[in-house]
Amino acid sequence: MGILSPTITRYPGTARGGGPVAPPNGGGGDHRNGGGSPNFGDRLRRARLGLAVGLTPIIMLFVSFTSAYIVRQGLPTLDEKTNQYVRDWLPVSLPWILLGINTALLLVSSVTMELTRRHITREAALAPVKSIPGVSLGDEKSFPWLALTTVLGLLFLFGQWMAWSELEARGFFIATSASSSFVYLLTGMHALHLLGGIVALLYAGATSLLKKPIETRRIVIDIAAWYWHFMALLWIYIFALLNFAR
């Protein structure tokens, strides 16, 4: 699995990342608006901006689920037998220990992802130095943090799947009651988004395998990391919502 961690030391395009050579397509030294090939910092900033914008609809998605959840909780239902409005909210008995373990797994994966991100940041910063002939920083073998994150993410998903099986064993299916529908909806949508995060992690691993330039790898890992942290945060939120608004 060590193959997934970024260990490439070869650095193509030595002029980038602080080198003195001007970008090929002109731009008059004005990197920010120079068009052509913007420098690495600009690409990173643009990608981060795109991610921040892209997280907004995910927030909106879960905000609407939350509002539906809260409203439905307080809504009376017509009981056909007595012809009276009754409160039919049935609190789901969640497997708290299992969910707690899953939460821990996800939080640890967030830490390992941050280590991945910091490692590649340092590697990218040192890349120009390494490209100088005769300078060697030692062939350090790094721990495969990225692979570990992916495994932890998959373990979390497996844990969620176990939690769903446990819910079914306790008699809570998706259509059993409004409360169980929302439990499956919130956890399921989060799992789907997390799966997207795992795809991003695999892609980040692939950029390393395909020996993409370090700038590209760093941007991919940086974006994947922030998305991953967001997924952990989102899970904490869902966990709290299911706990406090049962």
């Binding site: 193509p12 901006l49 795109g50 892209g54 927030i59 689920f65 539906a68 439905r72 809504l75 259509a175």
Partner: protein
């Protein structure tokens, strides 16, 4: 090394497929969106024609189709609304023109994320195909209207079109949401990050402001529609009860319990009202641009226009309840929603008066794009004035289910937005295709369309006040409604003529592409960046250099300037001598 290329330094691709089909070039993608919308508008128009025929000749045997059944009428209604709102009004002005001209107008070589841009077009096309497929499955297209109110939309047994057809409908909407979100992400990042040197926010053309704010609206609204669609799919296929209460259909008790149909309405209209502005804001931008250019005057109150766009965008999220006055909401909520809705009149009036102020005393050049821009203002005022009526619960409750509402939203959201698209097409055609459109055909197209659309939609207001109900497939059985049939007949004939006039447009469009006179780089003597580059623009928009902006977007007839227009890239000293 070649692999260090950046997102938008890609060289012009060779080969037909990479150049015109799976293109990363925002200009090609813009045109793809435009032609997708053009095909959709003809499908939607054809459906409306069938409805108009059925309304006055309910028993007519149409060739190939036969007689239209009442449920078929509802299916036509649903698909007409859905296709027009999503695949025309959302697609052409924003994704079509926005994709093509937003990067050029801010001096960028491409969108921020070209691959995402391509993906968003192909996702939209997929949504369109899924939507059209609803016509051809067992049971046909859904009956629940473009608003898809539950529980009708949530119960497959509720009607013939509510089986697979309705599933396809919801799926298509969900896919469309994803596509729109990708597009909005790209637009916002591009505007924030890729503006050329000197292109400050307050030097952006009003078209760019409109596309930008529209993208923000889309980013916030489509996520909510997506969540509504997911819940609907679950209700339909998994047996959950988000929207469906205990209901009995045809004597059978459904398995659902405790859901709230109003939940759908809240989620839908939280998207649905901003959607109205998603459709109309780009048209406002185009109208502002054209009125200034063809009056040879700066836009009246540029900053006020920008703040009005922002104000409309903000208020648009606070008024969704005015679509739900009929739902039995608390009078206090109704009052609050009513008040917020009325207050949208303020930024709208600011825009209208600024347009009139721009025209005032200008040296007006009445080319076809200008005619359509003036037509836009006219329709915006006519359609907008009935808004404050409907914003009041006491008036909305009697008028809500009548033709008054149909007339209102068709004038302001449908026809006005379409006029914005026509104006944009005639204005930017030379830049897009390198040739001019025919002015005579364009003027005929304008005159017939302008009078024709008023003839179709103005009488609807009177019909509504007379109590003619909307969504009814025929009026021949109800005594008081039969008396209104002559007016309906008149509207149908007007629809025939107006739709016929659209053929003039299509002929003009395709004929001019091949045979129109060659256009210069700046045929309208306009100031914004797209007119500084070659016609049609090269792959990287400005041919290897990036423009530097020294002027605001609407510097027409500046005293002391050598010409009556100062282009945004002209040297800063140009106005000094």
């Amino acid at each position: 090394m070649a692999t260090t290329h950046t997102v938008h330094a890609h060289a012009a691709p060779q080969g037909f497929i990479r150049r015109y089909v799976f293109s990363l070039d925002h200009k090609v993608i813009g045109l793809q969106y435009y032609f997708l919308a053009l095909s959709a508008v003809f499908v939607g128009m054809f459906l409306s024609l069938l409805m108009r025929i059925h309304l006055i000749w309910p028993n007519a045997q149409l060739p190939l189709i036969g007689a239209i059944k009442p449920e078929t009428y509802l299916a036509l209604l649903t698909m007409h609304g859905t296709i027009m709102v999503f695949f025309v009004l959302t697609t052409a002005p924003q994704s079509g023109f926005g994709n093509y001209f937003l990067p050029i107008q801010i001096g960028a070589p491409d969108m921020a994320f070209p691959v995402l841009n391509m993906l968003s077009f192909w996702t939209t096309l997929l949504a369109y195909i899924v939507m059209l497929a609803a016509f051809f499955v067992t049971g046909g297209a859904p009956l629940h209207g473009w608003t898809g109110y539950a529980p009708l939309s949530a119960l497959p047994s509720a009607g013939p079109g509510e089986q697979l057809g309705a599933d396809l409908w919801v799926t298509s909407i969900a896919i469309f949401c994803l596509a729109s979100l990708m597009g909005a992400l790209n637009f916002i990042t591009t505007v924030l990050d890729l503006r050329a040197k000197g292109m400050t926010l307050m030097r952006m053309p009003l078209t760019v402001w409109s596309w930008f704010v529209t993208a923000i609206l889309g980013l916030l609204a489509f996520g909510v529609l997506l969540s509504a669609g997911i819940l609907l799919l679950l209700d339909r296929n998994v047996g959950t009860s988000f929207y469906v209460p205990l209901v009995v259909v045809n004597g059978q008790v459904m398995g659902h319990k405790g859901g709230s149909p109003l939940l759908w309405q809240h989620l839908f209209w939280f998207f649905g009202h901003p959607e109205v502005y998603i459709a109309i804001l780009p048209g406002m931008g185009v109208a502002s641009q054209l009125l200034s250019t063809f009056s040879r005057k700066p836009i009246f109150g540029y900053r006020a226009m920008v703040y009005a766009i922002l104000g409309i965008g903000l208020l648009g999220f606070m008024v969704w309840g005015h679509h739900m006055f009929m739902s039995g909401m608390s009078p206090y909520s109704a009052f609050a929603f009513s008040l917020m809705t009325m207050s949208i009149g303020v930024p709208s009036a600011i825009k209208t008066f600024n347009w009139l102020g721009t025209l005032w005393g200008g040296r007006i050049r009445l080319y076809t794009p200008m005619l359509f821009a003036i037509g836009f203002v006219s329709l915006f005022v006519s359609g907008g004035l009935s808004g404050p009526f409907l914003a009041q619960p006491v008036l909305d409750i009697p008028l809500h289910d009548t033709y008054f509402v149909v007339g209102h939203f068709h004038l302001i959201m449908g026809v006005a937005a379409i006029f914005g698209m026509f104006a944009g097409t005639y204005y930017w055609f030379p830049k897009m295709f390198g040739r001019m459109m025919n002015e005579t055909l364009g003027k005929w197209h304008f005159v017939i369309t302008f009078i024709g659309t008023y003839c179709i939609f103005m009488p609807m207001h009177y019909l509504g006040m007379a109590g003619q109900t909307r969504r009814y497939s025929q009026f021949t059985e109800v005594a008081y409604q039969t008396k209104l049939l002559p007016l309906q007949t008149f509207m149908t004939y007007a629809a025939f003529v107006t739709i016929g006039a659209q053929l003039i447009f299509v002929i003009n469009l395709f004929w001019s592409m091949k045979k129109g006179p060659k256009a210069s780089d700046n045929p309208w003597e306009a100031t914004t960046l797209e007119w500084t580059t070659a016609t049609p623009p090269p792959h990287d928009n400005f041919g290897g250099h990036i423009p530097v902006v020294n002027h605001g977007p609407y510097e027409y007839s500046v005293p002391g300037a050598p010409r009556d227009f100062t282009m945004q890239t002209d040297p800063a000293t140009a106005t000094a001598h």
